[in-house]
């Protein structure tokens, strides 16, 4: 007898991959960066990179080969597999491309070596969000695993994270974004301003949240707090009482018929929204773009409580040394030098070194994606299709408006074992 279950999930990054592959050709043709040392071409170096974020972007590997002569062998995994591989097979990779909450668990096991910031050419261009936790001087530091809390160590060999900025950087940030609720503006019939709106009785049976426990619980926490039911000590690291309160609340809402569905994969969220089964739900930004590309109105609605954010970066494996280590630094410096940043920004993600990325984007692209201005001309996707018409304004506005209002970062809780058990109760209830 054969087992015929197949995995259908498309993660937001897998989605990128398709677009990225299509775009790779064009991207190569426009290669303009020169002036990088090409010593690696004579003495071929291969770096093995695995992980969740940029490892899905073949265009980056091809561009890296062209610019540096370094061959990148990329393996894309989902975040859970990435976490485990980072710890259990430290010799199987040279560069770990992981999210910050994974780093928090992985770094103390000693498989990642910190980077000497004096060797990072563009270190001073990295946005302060990753150094101090504040994008703007008056920003409030978000809850959860904020990248700056796991960004530094005092010295190589240290297993605990430093309190503030030091000369040793654990990971160079690469890709990050702010997530919020997606809505069907044509069907909700009113202004949506807060996470609590998803619990409005008017939307009974027309809402959905993500059924991935570690992310779903955060969305639920944003909703709970917005409704004034509870104030969490740290949404990213709840106590068992807080978990109980959150799950009990979800169970009650489920039994009252508030939710139409709980989605697990990217395509499910797109279908729920585009078919009109759901008018307000947890969503990822490429999913919003996918709904819109069908000609259906969909908005990535900014909410007054702020965003739930996620971010990843590149870390160096502990075993790297000599020429390989030099090449890894070379790669990371190339990475932050702008081309990749522009590429990511144009996909709706954010690059860590904004100033360098700017040089690789047209003024209109920069205005639309980063400054929150109305697009002067059509905004094109990397594959050349029109993503937004002239005149469009990005949901949530500028980079500073969006990333300046992060309420919590994706994280892993100390009580995650208990949390998953309770989450299963919610799904079974």
């Amino acid at each position: 007898m054969t087992e015929t279950i197949k995995k259908t999930g498309i993660s937001r990054r897998n989605l990128l991959k398709t677009g990225a592959a299509a775009a790779a050709g064009t991207a190569l043709g426009t290669g303009v960066i020169t002036g990088f040392p090409t010593i690696w071409a004579q003495n071929p170096i291969t770096l093995r990179q695995f992980g969740t974020g940029v490892s899905n972007l073949n265009a980056i590997a091809e561009k890296c080969k062209a610019d540096l002569g370094i061959t990148l062998e990329m393996t894309a995994t989902d975040s859970d597999a990435a976490a485990q591989r980072a710890v259990t097979q430290p010799d199987s990779y040279d560069i770990a491309d992981i999210e910050y909450w994974i780093l928090k668990k992985v770094f103390p096991t000693g498989v990642i070596q910190p980077m000497d910031i004096s060797r990072l050419t563009y270190y001073d261009k990295i946005v302060p969000l990753f150094k101090t936790g504040k994008l703007l001087p008056d920003s409030v530091i978000a809850q959860g695993t904020a990248p700056h809390t796991v960004g530094y160590v005092e010295a190589p060999g240290e297993k605990t994270f430093a309190k503030g900025e030091t000369g040793w950087f654990t990971m160079v940030p690469t890709i990050y974004n702010a997530d919020t609720l997606g809505i069907r503006p044509d069907l909700v019939g009113r202004d949506i301003t807060t996470w609590a709106d998803i619990m409005d009785p008017a939307f009974k049976g027309k809402t959905a949240i993500i059924n991935v426990p570690s992310i779903g619980i955060m969305d639920a926490a944003m909703i709970m707090e917005a409704m004034g039911n509870i104030t969490y000590g740290d949404k990213g690291n709840m106590t068992t009482d807080e978990i109980d309160a959150t799950i009990d609340f979800l169970i009650k809402a489920k039994q009252d018929g508030q939710f139409r569905a709980f989605w697990k994969s990217f395509d499910e969220s797109v279908n729920l929204m585009s078919s009109g089964e759901v008018v307000i739900q947890s969503m990822w930004s490429p999913a919003v773009a996918a709904v819109r590309s069908k000609g259906i109105a969909c908005k990535y609605q900014p909410l007054k409580e702020g965003y739930r954010s996620w971010g990843g970066g590149l870390g160096l494996a502990a075993h790297l040394e000599g020429a390989q280590l030099d090449a890894a630094y070379e790669y990371i410096n190339w990475y932050t030098s702008g081309w990749v940043g522009g590429y990511l920004n144009r996909q709706g993600y954010y690059s860590a070194a904004m100033d360098t990325a700017k040089e690789h984007m047209s003024a209109d692209e920069w205005g639309y994606w980063i400054e929150g201005k109305a697009a002067a001309g059509d905004i094109l996707a990397p594959d050349g299709t029109v993503m937004e018409q002239a005149g469009a304004i990005r949901d949530g506005g500028s980079f500073e408006e969006r990333m300046g209002k992060v309420a919590c970062w994706n994280s892993v809780m100390d009580e995650d074992r208990y949390m998953v058990r309770r989450w299963n109760e919610f799904i079974a209830a």
């Binding site: 279950i5 976490a83 710890v87 059924n211 569905a261 209830a429």
Partner: protein, 285 residues
């Protein structure tokens, strides 16, 4: 020597199967059993002998409710597929006269299986949805005012999709056993004055039982292990045992998932043993 060789022959012949089953079945299950007693945290698993995973699994009402829910799906799907499967097979075996037509019609039954089961499952969504074919038909015809909500993302949708996916697993073995039924038995029953339904009830059904049993094993094990159909068609509203395991695995809680898998395995083996006890399928193979 000769004597020894002749005694050893059956063992040697069985060795290849033993090796295959050993490597691909026994060892993995043994590992699963061992791991189910281990301790774990985010970064790894720690060998040990803890009954914690079982205590947590069996001591929770979620497990019982989830098993209850999965068994409910299994029972409903089994009953419906057995009913449909029997009549489809009966039609093919006894009403279609030419062997060519029989084979053509049987192949027609398998046509949907040329696509992936995910596609077959997802195709129901535009049919059953709030703005789907059925609802727009009903609303358009004025039969209902509001779209019928329970068509999609409900237990109904799950059972419907499973029946669609698994009926062929019932049709095939039943058809196979029915084809072996000696037609003269039916004639003899008729000569003895049996009516149509008496022929079916007293002759065909008892002789087709092994096929029903094999089909039941397929359907029951498939439904018990299913997570994608339940997730997609219930919209995550309904839990299944496999979905519960998947949630655990997604947070690297492998020992907990392993304990769950062992419990499920024991239950399914028990059910299969029950089926085999009622029907001796070896008689017909």
């Amino acid at each position: 020597m000769n004597n020894f060789l002749s005694r050893a022959t059956p063992y040697i012949q069985a060795t290849s199967l033993l090796l295959i089953l050993g490597f691909f079945l026994a060892i993995p299950i043994l590992l699963l059993l061992v791991v189910s007693f281990w301790d774990y945290d985010f970064v790894g698993m720690y060998p040990g002998f803890l009954t914690f995973n079982y205590a947590e699994t069996l001591g929770s009402w979620v497990t019982w409710k989830t098993y209850g829910n999965t068994l409910k799906f299994a029972a409903l799907v089994w009953a419906i597929t057995a009913f449909i499967g029997f009549w489809v097979a009966y039609f093919l075996a006894f009403h279609v006269r030419s062997a060519t037509t029989q084979m053509i019609l049987f192949l027609v039954c398998t046509v949907p299986f040329l696509t992936s089961n995910i596609i077959r499952m997802i195709s129901w969504i535009p049919v059953l949805g709030r703005n789907g074919l059925i609802n727009s038909g009903l609303v358009g015809a004025g039969i209902v005012d509001q779209p019928v909500e329970w068509l999609l993302y409900s237990d109904f949708a799950v059972v419907l999709a499973m029946v669609h996916l698994y009926t062929l697993f019932m049709v095939t073995p039943i058809f196979n056993t029915m084809m072996r039924i000696d037609k003269s038995l039916v004639e003899a029953a008729r000569d003895a004055g049996a009516r149509d339904w008496q022929v079916i009830w007293n002759v065909i059904l008892p002789l087709a039982k092994p096929g029903v049993a094999i089909g039941s094993i397929f359907v029951v094990t498939l439904v018990m292990a299913d997570f994608s159909t339940v997730q997609v068609m219930s919209g995550g509203q309904s839990a299944s045992v496999a979905l519960m395991m998947r949630n655990q695995m997604s947070l690297l809680q492998y020992p907990a998932a392993a304990a769950n898998a062992i419990v499920l395995l024991a239950l399914v083996l028990f059910m299969v043993a029950g089926i085999l006890r009622i029907v001796d399928i070896r008689k017909e193979l």
